[in-house]
């Protein structure tokens, strides 16, 4: 469970998130809002990539400020641009990087990489140069690179923004099938229909919070 207790975040003098207080317990949570509403800042708070100026964020009781490493071993993060996330030259090597903290032995490591590649239908790309893949393939490699470490929670920061419709749907379907808790920050509200809860951020505050069929129309307003 993620608990956000009266959190305020300022970037320079601007208040980006303003006194947020909520608990995230659902299996599928979507976060939507206009540009500059604080969505990405909110996402980065959840695994301690960004620390609040006031208040606390805890994951399963671990404070992101004092137990950042423990939090990050539980919360995986998928970035908008896979090029920033894929570090190693080939797909298999990049997956191995996600397992470095576990210091697995050679055979166990290879097996885990092979299993993960198979799970995400990426086996045929194992030795391919990751940066020469298509956008959709890259995002799946980035996702596999996070999921190989088996986090309990996955936070995705606009994972489909750079993708065409077909690849966006493929990535979202893959994310939807994951067994772990998933929190998705997105502009593509159509991907959140099956989610348990949707948070709408507006100027750093939660303006709507509820089931998708309730929160999304309120966010879209007269456009819907």
């Amino acid at each position: 469970m993620i608990s956000i207790d009266h959190v305020t975040v300022r970037l320079q003098s601007r208040v980006v998130l303003d006194d947020l207080a909520l608990s995230l317990t659902e299996h599928r949570i979507g976060v939507i809002g206009d540009n500059g509403s604080g969505k990405s800042t909110f996402a980065k708070l959840l695994n301690g990539l960004l620390l609040p100026d006031h208040g606390t964020v805890t994951v399963d009781g671990f404070d992101t400020r004092s137990d950042g490493k423990k939090v990050r071993s539980r919360v995986g993060f998928l970035f908008q641009n896979p090029d920033n996330q894929i570090v190693m030259p080939t797909v298999a090597e990049d997956l191995a990087l996600g397992l470095k903290p576990l210091r697995l032995d050679g055979d166990v490591l290879r097996q885990r990489i092979s299993d993960t590649l198979e799970r995400f239908s990426l086996s045929h790309l194992a030795d391919r140069s990751a940066h020469l893949l298509s956008g959709g393939e890259k995002q799946l490699v980035a996702l596999a690179g996070v999921m190989i470490a088996e986090p309990d929670i996955l936070v995705c920061d606009e994972p489909t923004t750079l993708l065409d419709r077909r690849n966006a749907e493929l990535v979202m379907k893959t994310i939807a099938d994951l067994p772990c808790t998933v929190i998705v920050v997105t502009h593509h509200v159509e991907h959140l229909d099956s989610f348990d809860r949707v948070l709408v951020l507006d100027k750093g505050r939660i303006s709507h919070d509820g089931a998708p069929d309730c929160a999304i129309p309120l966010y879209l307003g007269p456009l819907s």
């Binding site: 990539l49 993060f77 570090v87 470095k100 903290p101 996070v146 470490a149």
Partner: protein
């Protein structure tokens, strides 16, 4: 030698371990320096070229592509040596340069960056008593090498944008957006590494 240009393959050179390949490169480098007969050097160059293109299965086209950027330098050295020393010295030093680049490229094309990084980590492990984390050092070196093409991509993108705006020779106009993008990218990379557990590498299990 630029790591990160690994070409997948199943030849026996691909199967050799990284320390063996790096040892081969080191040994060849030493041998090249010791050889003083042109005929022996020609033989060694042909052998390395054969290993590169046939034994490792990388082909003659790649051999040529790895030689082409060198030609201007080889020509300059050849002419300088011809003028200053002798024809024999000119040929010898030119062949040395070409052979060394072929060996380094062979190792680059057949060795994964992660294997190279493991060798670097093992070499840096002597620094562990001083509180240095060899895995991090090796990774940072490997990452730096790996990011060289990305930096070139960013500079090329910015240059294209400035060209489109008619600012082809405005180097300062190029420098600012390129630097801004590099800083933004490095920030994103730093976040990604943190999120992927880089800070936990040195931790004991």
């Amino acid at each position: 030698m630029i790591a990160g240009l690994y070409l997948p393959g199943d030849g026996w050179i691909h199967g050799l371990s990284a320390p063996v390949k790096l040892g081969f490169m080191f040994f060849t480098g030493l041998t090249i320096v010791v050889i003083s007969h042109v005929s022996v050097m020609v033989l060694l160059t042909i052998s390395v070229g054969f290993i590169f293109s046939v034994v490792a299965g990388l082909g003659f086209k790649r051999l040529w592509l790895s030689t082409r950027p060198l030609l201007i330098w080889v020509l300059a050295i050849l002419l300088a040596q011809l003028w200053l020393v002798s024809a024999e010295a000119a040929v010898l030093i030119s062949l040395r340069l070409v052979t060394l680049v072929w060996v380094a490229t062979l190792v680059t094309y057949t060795t994964r960056l992660s294997e190279m990084s493991d060798v670097l980590a093992a070499m840096c492990s002597v620094l562990r008593p001083l509180g240095v984390n060899p895995e991090r050092i090796a990774f940072l070196i490997a990452l730096t090498i790996r990011l060289i093409p990305s930096v070139f991509d960013i500079v090329r993108d910015v240059r294209d944008v400035q060209k489109a705006r008619g600012l082809e020779r405005a180097y300062i106009a190029m420098f600012v957006p390129a630097l801004t993008r590099l800083l933004r990218e490095s920030d994103a990379l730093s976040d990604a590494l943190t999120a992927r557990g880089f800070e936990r590498w040195g931790d004991k299990r």
